[in-house]
Each structure stands twice: as structure tokens, then as C-alpha cells.
């Protein structure tokens, strides 16, 4: 007996966690500063397994951080900077109050600043880590670069975001890393493969934002601060990996050409604008011709399979999807997006001179193969080019092949635009358009498509009906027999003499396969009965999920069928 009595909540999980307020007090930071610090350092709360234990017996809702994380924050040099900034603000206020303008000026000049380089390095110890986490950074920067200079954030931030995003897009173009594009109602999604990492980002449509009031822009600005730093370093590294000059410069040849014709702004400004036009290739540290040659002869690595080689070849083919095609963008088509996508896949693109800087050829150019317009009709059309709607470009990219242009002519009802991110598993619903594209990819000809489809559908339906009928027939037979028996029994019970009659028996064709199946099903049913409660619960849950999936797929299919039927009947009516 004896020894010191153990105190509660001094060991175990209670000692590993710390509430937010305590952490804040420990760091001697105000809540906004603490929030900033957490954002910058990537510290997030943890959910303890036993909340009540950690909460010292209370069940109040609290946010918990790992004590280790908070201790780690204690050593962060930026905390000191935050404090400096607080002092700075206080001094500035004082100087203002005393109207000591010289002091104000002096203080302003010595405004404490901090760098985030070490944080980036610490959070992302390797470059791949940084790439893996760059999705959010890209989304945020693309969003901020579309902001108007309305005081929601600093103008410098907006400009920096714009610069970084343009750099990123230029990199993607040069390395032709783009894989998928998707026009959604939210914005345009892009997916690129950079160093084996799939990176997805979304760009909002080019409209001015209706800034919501229930959004804390300080939080967003803090994130953007971190993300711009991250994106800058990543861009630097990526540019150097391709032997490009960073900050990017345009190819000297192109520059020379363009220098002649326009002198409308300062060179620095016009340079950045030309870069953002995405029409020119970038200057390289090593001359590009040599490198391309070097790229050409590749030796297959021994370990690589033939499949891998094939996949690589396919990829390369996709990268040169628009090679040799010359596009012209009409002024209503989304220029930046289209230029970006077309250039990524090796096409040439231009637009009206008055639309944006950086156009390379005129509408009148005879070599233009595709003219992208988004209006019902164009009056003056050239014969030797296709006039198509912008969706064609995106669909081609997603299908990894040049789709027939007929469906995308001006004024034509566009085929549905499908998400390239959906990968249908077995049992999922696949929209018929996707099946069509898959067939095209396999190299089947789309001739007489509709008819075939109709026929197939018809057959399927018939088959289904047939099955049902068979079943019904069997059921009916059984029912009839039962009825007969019942009749006889009734008669017997009523004391009537039976009509003794011997009818020739029918040989029941027993479907052995079906019997076997039934047997198996019953076995399974019986086995399921013997499951333990816990397992049964899990099993039921899984099966419920599966059934729901099937139900959803069926629902979609039914909806589609109804829609198609309605369309058909409409067509028929129109014909009549």
C-alpha cells in the first residue's frame, strides 16, 4: 500500500493534447496571429480518440491540437516577426497620434517583413512533396489573379498571382504536360501530369466577382501568401528542369519579330502581357534545337515492358494531338483557355489583333485549318477551314484523338460534354456518348451508328421480355397445377366423387444450370443467416451500398431511356 496517489489527467492522452486557447496563451499570440501561424505552418487540429479523457472529464466541444505541434510552433522565427509587427503597429499608431510624420515615415520604411522560404522547405522537404500539394495553391492563385483591384486584397498580390499563374501555364505548354480538360458550370478544370504527379486545378470563368460578405478574406490572403511563395519556388525549379530561363523570357526570334511592329507600352509591361498571351515559346538557357535532337533518340530501358512502351507512345501521340493544325479564335471564344489547351497539344493559335496582344496571324491566313467560333453563324466564311465550336477542342483532348468535326459545326446541337475524370467501374452507369467515344478510340467506324444502336436496344429489350415471359410461363404452369389440385381437393372434401381421369404427365424440363444456381443462392442465404451480429451489420451495410449504386445506375439508365423515347417520338411527329 501507499505511494503517491496518481492524479487524473496528467498522463496518457490528456497530456498529449492541448486546447486551442491554451495553445494560444502558450504562444502568446492573438487569435488572428495564431490562425495565421497555423495556416502558414500547416498545423491542424486533431480529434482525440477519447474526447472526454482529453477534455478532463468535460464534454464541451473544444478544438484540440497536439501538444507536440504547439511545441514545434514555439521555435518558429516567424512568431517573433508577428510580435514585431504588433509593436510596429503600436508605434505607428502612437506616431500618428502625435502627428510625428517623420517618425511615421521612418517606421513605415522599417516595416517588419518576413519570408516564408524556410517554412516551405520545412513543410515540403522534397520537391515531389511540394508538387503533390500544389493543387490548392494553383486554384487559389488562379482565383486571385481574376480579382479586380477593389481592395479585397493588395494589388501586388493580384499581380503576383497573375504572374505566377502565367508562368505555370507557360511551363505546362512547354512541357506539354496537360492531360485532361473539363468545362464545368463552376469553371474550367485542367489536369496536368508533372513529374508523375497528377495536378488538377480549376479556373473560374472570366467574369467580375460578386464578392460575398460572409467570407473572411484575411484567411484567404494568408493562404495566398503561402501559396504564392510555394508556387514561385516550384515554378523556378520546373523552369530549370526544362532548361528554361526564369523569370521567363520569350524566344529571342519571336521577340525580334514582335519588337518591330508594336511599341505601345513599356517593354516590361508588354513583355508580361505577351507572356500571358501564351502564344510564344519561351527562351531556353540551352538552345532548343540541340535538346530536341537529344530527346529524339531514346533507348528503351531494359526493365520496361512493351505495354509501358506503348503507353508512352500513346502519350506522345496525345501530346502532339493538334500538331500541324492552325486555329483561329473568334473574339467570343474564351481566348486564354483555348490558347492554353491548343498550345499544350502542339497546335498553332491566333486571334484578332484587337482582341489581345500576341496574335501571330490574321483571319485571312489561308493556312488556317480550324476557326473556333461560339456564335450561331458567321457571315464571311472561308472555304478551306472548319468552323467549329470550342467544345471540339476540349472533347478532342479528353478523347485523346481528333473527333469528327461534323457534330461541332456552328449552330449544331452539341453532343454532351463528359467529365474525363470519371472512370466507370463495372456495374456503373456509362452514358452512351462515352461508349461511342470509346468505340471510336478502339477504331470502330461510327457509320450507321444510330440504327445499330436502335437495333441493339430492340434486341435487348426483346430478350429481356422473352426471359420474363418464360418465367411467367413457368409460374403460370405451376399455378395451374396448384389450382387443379385445389379443385380436386375441394371436390373431395365436399364428398363428391372424383372424376377419375388419368392425364398424361408432362416431362418437366429441368434446367440444371438454373437449379444449380438456385441451390447456390440458397446456400448463400443460409450461410448469411449464420453470420455473427457484427459481421452481419457490416455485410448489410456493404450490400446496401452496392444496391444503392445499382439503383442509381438503373435510375440514370431509365431517365436516359425516357429522354430518348421522348426525342424519338418528337422526331416522328416532326416527320409526319
Amino acid at each position: 500500500m501507499g505511494g503517491l496517489q496518481k492524479k487524473k489527467f496528467e498522463r496518457g492522452s490528456a497530456a498529449n493534447y492541448i486546447t486551442r486557447n491554451k495553445a494560444r496563451r502558450k504562444l502568446q499570440l492573438s487569435l488572428p496571429d495564431f490562425r495565421r501561424l497555423c495556416i502558414l505552418k500547416g498545423i491542424y487540429p486533431h480529434e482525440p480518440k477519447h474526447k472526454k479523457k482529453v477534455n478532463k472529464g468535460s464534454t464541451a466541444a473544444r478544438t484540440f491540437y497536439l501538444l507536440k505541434d504547439i511545441r514545434f510552433l514555439l521555435h518558429e522565427p516567424i512568431v517573433g516577426k508577428f510580435r514585431d509587427y504588433k509593436v510596429f503597429v503600436r508605434r505607428l499608431k502612437k506616431a500618428y497620434g502625435k502627428t510625428e510624420w517623420s517618425a511615421v515615415e521612418r517606421l513605415r520604411e522599417n516595416k517588419p517583413t518576413y519570408k516564408l522560404d524556410h517554412i516551405i522547405k520545412e513543410r515540403y522537404p522534397s520537391f515531389i512533396d511540394a508538387l503533390r500539394d500544389i493543387d490548392d495553391a494553383l486554384c487559389m492563385c488562379f482565383l486571385f489573379s481574376t480579382f479586380a483591384r477593389t481592395g479585397k486584397c493588395h494589388v501586388q498580390t493580384i499581380q503576383l498571382c497573375r504572374r505566377l499563374t502565367v508562368e505555370w501555364m507557360n511551363y505546362v505548354i512547354t512541357s506539354s504536360a496537360l492531360r485532361k480538360v473539363f468545362i464545368s458550370i463552376k469553371g474550367i478544370y485542367y489536369q496536368a501530369e508533372v513529374m508523375g504527379q497528377l495536378i488538377t486545378w480549376v479556373v473560374p470563368y472570366q467574369f467580375s466577382h460578386d464578392h460575398p460578405t460572409d467570407v473572411d478574406y484575411r484567411v484567404m490572403a494568408t493562404f495566398t501568401e503561402l501559396y504564392t511563395t510555394l508556387l514561385g519556388f516550384v515554378n523556378f525549379r520546373l523552369y530549370h528542369s526544362l532548361n528554361l530561363i526564369y523569370p521567363p523570357k520569350m524566344d529571342s526570334k519571336v521577340e525580334m519579330d514582335q519588337m518591330e511592329d508594336d511599341d505601345y507600352a513599356m517593354t516590361s509591361e508588354s513583355n508580361s502581357e505577351k507572356l500571358s498571351a501564351l502564344s510564344a515559346s519561351l527562351a531556353r538557357a540551352v538552345s532548343s534545337a540541340e535538346e530536341e535532337e537529344a530527346e529524339l533518340d531514346q533507348f528503351p530501358v531494359e526493365g520496361e515492358d512493351i505495354e509501358q512502351m506503348e503507353a508512352k507512345e500513346k502519350e506522345q501521340k496525345q501530346q502532339k494531338l493538334f500538331k500541324g493544325l492552325k486555329f483561329f479564335l473568334n473574339r467570343e471564344a474564351p481566348r486564354e483557355s483555348l490558347a492554353f489547351v491548343i498550345r499544350c497539344f502542339g497546335g498553332e493559335v491566333s486571334w484578332d489583333k484587337s482582341l489581345c496582344i500576341g496574335s501571330t496571324y490574321e483571319v485571312t491566313d489561308e493556312t488556317i485549318t480550324h476557326h473556333i467560333a461560339d456564335r450561331p453563324n458567321i457571315e464571311k466564311q472561308y472555304i478551306n477551314r472548319y468552323y467549329i465550336q470550342p467544345q471540339w477542342v476540349y472533347d478532342c483532348v479528353n478523347a485523346k484523338m481528333l473527333l469528327p468535326v461534323e457534330d461541332y459545326f456552328l449552330g449544331v446541337n452539341l453532343p454532351p460534354h463528359l467529365s474525363p475524370f470519371v472512370e466507370e467501374k463495372e456495374g456503373d452507369y456509362v452514358p452512351p456518348e462515352k461508349l461511342k467515344i470509346m468505340a471510336l478510340q478502339r477504331g470502330e467506324k461510327p457509320a450507321n451508328e444510330e440504327e445499330e444502336e436502335d437495333e441493339e436496344e430492340g434486341e435487348e429489350e426483346e430478350e429481356e421480355e422473352g426471359d420474363e415471359e418464360e418465367e411467367e410461363e413457368e409460374d403460370e404452369e405451376e399455378e395451374a397445377e396448384e389450382k387443379n389440385l385445389k379443385m380436386m381437393e375441394e371436390q373431395r372434401s365436399q364428398g363428391k366423387s372424383l372424376q377419375v381421369k388419368v392425364t398424361p404427365g408432362k416431362v418437366k424440363a429441368e434446367n440444371s444450370a438454373r437449379l444449380e444456381e438456385e441451390e447456390k443462392a440458397e446456400e448463400k442465404r443460409l450461410a448469411i443467416m449464420m453470420m455473427k451480429k457484427k459481421e452481419k451489420y457490416l455485410y448489410d451495410k456493404i450490400m446496401f451500398g452496392k444496391k444503392r449504386k445499382v439503383r442509381e445506375a438503373n435510375k440514370l439508365a431509365a431517365k436516359r431511356k425516357a429522354h430518348d423515347d421522348a426525342e424519338k417520338s418528337k422526331k416522328k411527329k416532326a416527320k409526319k
Binding site: G42, Y44, H46, E47, F64, F72, N110, T113, K115, P125, S126, F127, D135, D136, C139, F182, I183, S184, I185, K186, G187, Y189, P204, Y205, H209, H211, D214, V215, D216, M220, G232, F233, N235, R237, E332, D374, Q389, L414, P416, H417, S419, F421, V422, P431, S493, E519, E522, E523, K524, L526, A527, M529, M530, M531, E535, Y539, M543, L556, R560, H563
Partner: protein, 744 residues
């Protein structure tokens, strides 16, 4: 004129003063001078124009300002002035205040009587016409042009000039070009030379005053050249010789602050520190810190599906119902945070209103959401299904319904198979007990007992052929005579055993009586009259003892054990331990099982004490069966459960089977085969394989092998009783649909 001379004098004086260099005064003076100049000029004009006028300057001006001094005589003069005014209105307006102020000054100087309207500077127009400042076109069609102060009409001057006259006038009159019409009065006015000059000057944009010099030399009072003499004669302060203590203090403070590093020198390269990028990962260390091992990267945003497309396939768009549902749902419950929409072309796609919201929510998720590593259950559901021996390998067991015994008109409560396996007895609510030949499903005998039969039980002793029937408050012993003569005789002998000893216990409770007459003919041999309604009868294996159950909450008299051969009855329990549901004898040993509502009690009949109490984890036990080995018991309960007890293991059920959907009505063991069955209100009979091993260490193997259906559910009752054939793997069931079915 005197005044003018005075002015010139003053001017001279002022010039002198100017030379003296007094600044303040001079400024004021300058202003004054200007005003005066203008005034002079005007007065001169007037003088020239109206030399004949006797009016003083004062009155002329007062004519402008007010109507107090005006008279009929000086109409012309005033009109002239008016014209002047109209022409030079702009200038006038600029100058008018100056003029007035100058007037005032002059008045003061000259001490002329003030006019009562002098201070009134608001109305400028000729007040003889009281129409006010209105467009005169309004009076175009009237003969008059306004009203005078007395309210009388002022008539337009008669004009009878036509075009010709006008032309002639133009040709002949040398003053035609300087004649203008006064709109206010409608009369023609000939402008004087000075007025014409003034008009011309104004048109050229020059000052109205001829004498005003716009380009006067500017006098610079302060120059950067240091002058020889001080401006003032004041001696310098003392403090200008002594170093300032205050400044010293300030400087020393600054020096101290710089020393201490409080004040920092200006940074020059501040822009370089930020926004300059370099190869951050030049020296990548692959050391995997513990922090990074523990780090949970934020999950990526789920990628968009077809729903989000700007032009999705038609099946992904909402129907009206789905849309209504979406709108009704809480934003948290919605499957998609947006309504799928379709646009015929890309240019029609609007901005997404919640874009910034979504990014912001993502930000919040990143820094506010607790992260937790959750193991996703990646289980193949097939693996969860226990691996059981195939039912095929566990044959024989009943699989198909082969015979239906029809004849009862009420629900068949109870059935029993004769130990020989040839006969089947059934008791029904229609008040009859029927005997069936099993193989032919023929009803051999029907005994009307006159009451709903609750339970029938065939004597398990193969050497006798007796059936116990429970109805109302009596137990009947029937001898159906469905066996060899010998067997019938032996059973008769048993029944007619000497009645030497009168029942000791249960005196007066139980009444044994022989039957006579009709009843005897039907085969009813004995009638044991109970005090309460009997629910169940159960034979001992030997066939001599018979137990009957009379469920009652309040009494200890619930179970009676009868000895048929000696016609004796006894109540084994002295206490009420709950509502007794069913009883059973141990097949081999002298034990007695009593199932109450929640538990099964096992009594040792020899020692007369409780051996074991089994807790069925169910609400209400409905039935019970004892394994022919005697070591296992199954209980069916009204809460759909079947519990298997292994008496060697514990008092808790070894296995609970929840196979039925509705209340389990009856359970049964097969005597020879390792089979047991349960029947329930859902109309199904589940036959299970239940091997009991001789090895005590091995637990019984329980495998459901067949679900039998056939009974029709009537009045929410399905199968009421179930029994196995004593030798064959057959099962009989009786149901609420008045049928008995045989499954083989």
C-alpha cells in the same frame, strides 16, 4: 470732379506709401484703388452721356439700385443705362459687389444720405417694370409689356415699322447699326460711342476699363537675395545664441535609440528579400523526419463528375421532382452542392456564384478540420459469409413438401407422431382429434372431444398405444387402437391398473375418472379433470408419467405430474417461479425441464432440487425441446429467437439464432438424426443440422440446411407445431390454415 481730383491725390499718396514698402496696408489699398478706378470710369461715362442731367451721380446709381429716386423724366437716361447693363451684364455681375462696396465707401466718405434700398443688392432689373426676371416673350401677344409700381399696365411703344420701313431705316439711318431694342421696355436705344467701345472691348475679352493696365509690373516683396538691412529693427533673442536643450535632449534620445537598435537605418534592398525565388530544393535531404512521417496530407478535392458539366448528358439533369427535393433538403444533406444545368453553347455559361465560397470553405477545411487516419473497411463481403459445410453434405434432411393432411376445420394446435412412426395424431380448435395414416395421408379416425384441443402427445413407449390430449381443464387419455392387438391389450392393461392407492397429493385438485358410453366407444379411456385450463401435456420416456401444464401467474399449482398406471397426481413445486410455458422430461436421466417466461429450470426429480437455471436471452419463451442425448436444449421465443443451450457449457445460450422474422411457435429435435427445426408465425420452418459430438471439447455444429414453406398465414398465424418423424428424416407441421404438412 472734385472727387476725381481727390482720387488722384489719394493715388499719389498711395504710390508714396507703396514706395515706403508697407505691405499690409498696401494690399488693402490696392483693392480699394481698383474699385475706385472702376467707379471713376463709370461716372465719367455718365457725365458725358447725360450732360444735361441735373441729377447727381448718386441718383444715377441709385436708379440702378433702387426705384426710390426715379422719376418719369429720366426715363431715357435710365433706359440707356439699362442697355448698358444688359450688354455688360457679365462684367457687371463680376464687378457689382465691388461697385457696391465702393459705393458704400464713397458714401461714407462723402457723407451723402443713404438710400433706404442701398443695402438691397439682390434685384438688378429695372423695377419700374414689375414683371420680374422673366422671359419677355410671355408678353409677346399682349399690348402691354408689364406693370408699373402702381399696378398699371406699361404699354409697348407703338411700332408700325414693316419690313420696308426697316430696310429704309437701315439704308438711311446712320445710327442703325448701333440701335438696339430694349426688351424690357420694347423701345429702341441708340448706343453711344463709349458704349459701343465697351461692347467691342468685352467681345474681345478685354477689361471694360480702358485705363486698366493688365500688365502692371509685379513687385516682389520677398526675394532670395539677402538684403543688406534687416526688415525689422528688433534685437535677436537670447535663445538664438544658446544651444537648445530641447534639441540636445531629442538628439541624445535618437542617438541612444540608434545605439540600442530601436531605430534602424533605412533598408535599401527590401524588395529583393521577397518575391525572389531560387532553387529551394537544391540540396534535398531525404531524411524522413518523424514529423513528416506523422503528417497527414490534406485529402484532395474530389474530381467533378458528369453532373458538373456545362452540357451534361440529359439523364444527369434534374427532373422537377428531384429539383424540388434538392431545394427542400438541408444544404448539408444534398448530394451535390449545385443544380446540374445545361447550356447550349459555351458563351452562355454564367459565372458560378459560389466559387469564392467554395475556395474559402476549402481553406477552412485545410486549417480547421481535425484530420484523422481512418482505416477504410476494404472487405470483400463474400469473405464475411462464414464457411459452412454444404447442406448437400449434411443430408438427409427434409427438403420438399410431399403430403398435405386436410380435414380439420380449425387451426391445428398440436400434432404428435406415434412411436412406431405409422400414425399421426392432431388436435385442433374445431374440437376434434384426428388420427392419420402417415403414408397415405388418410384420416382413419376422428374423435370429437368437445373442446379446443391444446395439446396432444403420443405415449413414447412403443409397447403401449396411448394418446394424451389436453383440452380446456381436462387431460384425456385415448387409446385409438391403432396397433397390434397385443399392444392394444397392454395399453388397456396399463389403464385398468388397480386403483389401490388413492391419490395422496393433489387431493381434490385432480379427479381421475373412467369414461363410459359414447366416449368409451370413441376410445377415450381416462379423463383427468384439472382445476385450471391445461396448456400442454408431456410424457416421460418410459410412458408411465405424464406432466401437464396449467400456466398461471399467481399460483404455485402450475405443473402436475401424473402416474397413469397408479392414477396418481402430484404437484412437484411449492413455489411459483413464474409463468410456466412448457415442460419436458429428460430422455434418460431423472431430470425435469420447466421453461418459464425468461428462463429454463432443470430439476432433479430424485434429489428434488434445482440443478440449473438457464437464462435464455429472450423476452418470452414459447417452446422448448430437449436433445435426445439430454445435454442440449433449444428454446424458441416469441421475439423471433432460437437459443441453443449446451448444458455442459454454461447457463447462457451457446448460440442464438435469429432466423425467423416472426414469433417462433414451436421447436423440435429429431430422435435419431442430428436435426432440429423451428416453426414460426412467418409460415416458415427452418430445418437446421445440429451435430452434437461425443467429444466434450468440441462444440456442437449448427448449420441451417433448409427453409421450408408451405403453410398459408391466416389470422397472422403461420405454423403452430412441428414434429419430426421418429425414424425417418421427415418433418410434420401443423398450421393455422387447418392443414398438416409432411416434408420429406
Amino acid at each position: 470732379m472734385e472727387e476725381s481730383s481727390k482720387r488722384s491725390e489719394q493715388r499719389k499718396e498711395m504710390e508714396k506709401e507703396r514706395k515706403k514698402g508697407e505691405k499690409k496696408r498696401r494690399k488693402e489699398e490696392e483693392e480699394e484703388e481698383e474699385e475706385i478706378l472702376i467707379f471713376n470710369h463709370k461716372s465719367a461715362e455718365k457725365e458725358k452721356e447725360d450732360e444735361d442731367l441735373s441729377d447727381s451721380e448718386d441718383s444715377v446709381f441709385s436708379g440702378l439700385e433702387d426705384s426710390g429716386s426715379d422719376s418719369e423724366d429720366d426715363d431715357d437716361d435710365d433706359e440707356d443705362l439699362k442697355v448698358d447693363q444688359n450688354l455688360s451684364q457679365q462684367v457687371k455681375k463680376e464687378e457689382e459687389e465691388d461697385v457696391q462696396s465702393s459705393l458704400k465707401k464713397k458714401d461714407e466718405e462723402e457723407e451723402v444720405k443713404r438710400d433706404e434700398y442701398e443695402h438691397d443688392s439682390s434685384d438688378e432689373e429695372d423695377i419700374r417694370n414689375t414683371v420680374g426676371n422673366i422671359p419677355m416673350e410671355w408678353y409677346k401677344d399682349f399690348p402691354h409689356i408689364g406693370y408699373d409700381l402702381d399696378g398699371k399696365k406699361i404699354y409697348k411703344p407703338i411700332r408700325n415699322k414693316d419690313e420696308l420701313d426697316d430696310f429704309l431705316d437701315k439704308m438711311e439711318n446712320p445710327d442703325y447699326w448701333r440701335t438696339v431694342q430694349d426688351k424690357q421696355t420694347g423701345s429702341d436705344v441708340v448706343l453711344s460711342d463709349e458704349q459701343v467701345e465697351l461692347v467691342k472691348r468685352l467681345q474681345r475679352g478685354q477689361f471694360g476699363d480702358v485705363n486698366f493696365n493688365e500688365y502692371q509690373p509685379q513687385v516682389e516683396f520677398f526675394t532670395q537675395e539677402v538684403m543688406l538691412h534687416p526688415v525689422t529693427n528688433r534685437p535677436a533673442d537670447k535663445r538664438s545664441f544658446i544651444p537648445s536643450l530641447l534639441e540636445k535632449d531629442k538628439v541624445s534620445k535618437l542617438v541612444h535609440a540608434i545605439k540600442m537598435g530601436w531605430i534602424k537605418p533605412r533598408r535599401d534592398s527590401r524588395d529583393d528579400s521577397r518575391g525572389r525565388y531560387y532553387d529551394l530544393w537544391a540540396s534535398e535531404d531525404t531524411s524522413n523526419l518523424a514529423r513528416h512521417r506523422m503528417h497527414l496530407p490534406a485529402p484532395k478535392i474530389p474530381l467533378p463528375g458528369h453532373h458538373e458539366s456545362y452540357n451534361p448528358p440529359p439523364e444527369y439533369l434534374f427532373t422537377d421532382e428531384e429539383r424540388a427535393l434538392w431545394e427542400q433538403q438541408d444544404p448539408v444533406d444534398r448530394k451535390f452542392p449545385f443544380v446540374p444545368r445545361s447550356f447550349s453553347s459555351l458563351r452562355l455559361v454564367p459565372a458560378f456564384p459560389r466559387f469564392i465560397h467554395e475556395r474559402f470553405e476549402r481553406c477552412l477545411d485545410l486549417y480547421l478540420c481535425p484530420r484523422q487516419r481512418k482505416m477504410r473497411v476494404n472487405v470483400n463481403p463474400e469473405d464475411l459469409i462464414p464457411k459452412l459445410p454444404k447442406p448437400k453434405d449434411l443430408q438427409p434432411f427434409p427438403t420438399t413438401q410431399s403430403l398435405v393432411y386436410r380435414g380439420h376445420s380449425g387451426l391445428v394446435r398440436s400434432i404428435s407422431v406415434s412411436p412406431s412412426g405409422q400414425w399421426l395424431a392432431s388436435g385442433s380448435d374445431d374440437g376434434s382429434v384426428r388420427f392419420w395414416e402417415i403414408c397415405s395421408s388418410r384420416c382413419l379416425k376422428t374423435v370429437q372431444v368437445g373442446g379446443a384441443v391444446k395439446s396432444v402427445a403420443w405415449n413414447p413407449n412403443p409397447s403401449v398405444c396411448l394418446l394424451a390430449v389436453a383440452l380446456d381443464s381436462a387431460v384425456l387419455i385415448l387409446s385409438p387402437a391403432l396397433a397390434d392387438r397385443q399392444v392394444v391389450l397392454s395399453s388397456d392393461r396399463l389403464l385398468s391398473a388397480p386403483q389401490e392407492a388413492e391419490p395422496i397429493e393433489g387431493d381434490g385438485l385432480v379427479n381421475w375418472s373412467d369414461t363410459e358410453g359414447e366416449e368409451l366407444n370413441q376410445g377415450i379411456r381416462l379423463k383427468i379433470q384439472h382445476p385450471k385450463a391445461v396448456q400442454q401435456v408431456a410424457w416421460h420416456t418410459k410412458g408411465d408419467y405424464l406432466a401437464s401444464v396449467m400456466p398461471d401467474h399467481s399460483s404455485h399449482l402450475q405443473v402436475l405430474i401424473h402416474q397413469v398406471s397408479r392414477r396418481r397426481s402430484q404437484n412437484p413445486f411449492r413455489k411459483n417461479k413464474g409463468l410456466v410455458q412448457s415442460v419436458s422430461f429428460h430422455p434418460i436421466r431423472p431430470y425435469f425441464f420447466v421453461a418459464t417466461q425468461r428462463s429454463v429450470r432443470i430439476y432433479n426429480l430424485v434429489k428434488q432440487d434445482l440443478t440449473k437455471k438457464l437464462h435464455a436471452n429472450s423476452k418470452w419463451i414459447s417452446s422448448m425441446a430437449v436433445h435426445p442425448g439430454g445435454d442440449h436444449v433449444i428454446c424458441g421465443s416469441y421475439d423471433c429467437k432460437l437459443s441453443w443451450f449446451d448444458l455442459d457449457l454454461s447457463t447462457k445460450p451457446y448460440r442464438m439464432l435469429r432466423h425467423h422474422r416472426k414469433a417462433v411457435r414451436s421447436v423440435a429435435y429429431h430422435r435419431l438424426y442430428p436435426l432440429f427445426a423451428s416453426a414460426a408465425d412467418d409460415g416458415s420452418i427452418i430445418v437446421c443440422h445440429g451435430t452434437v459430438y461425443n467429444d466434450l471439447l468440441q462444440n456442437p455444429l449448427i448449420v441451417p440446411v433448409k427453409v421450408l414453406r408451405g403453410h398459408v398465414i391466416t389470422h397472422e398465424l403461420g405454423v403452430l407445431d412441428v414434429t419430426f418423424h421418429p425414424t425417418q428424416p421427415w418433418i410434420f407441421s401443423s398450421g393455422a390454415d387447418a392443414t398438416i404438412r409432411l416434408f420429406t
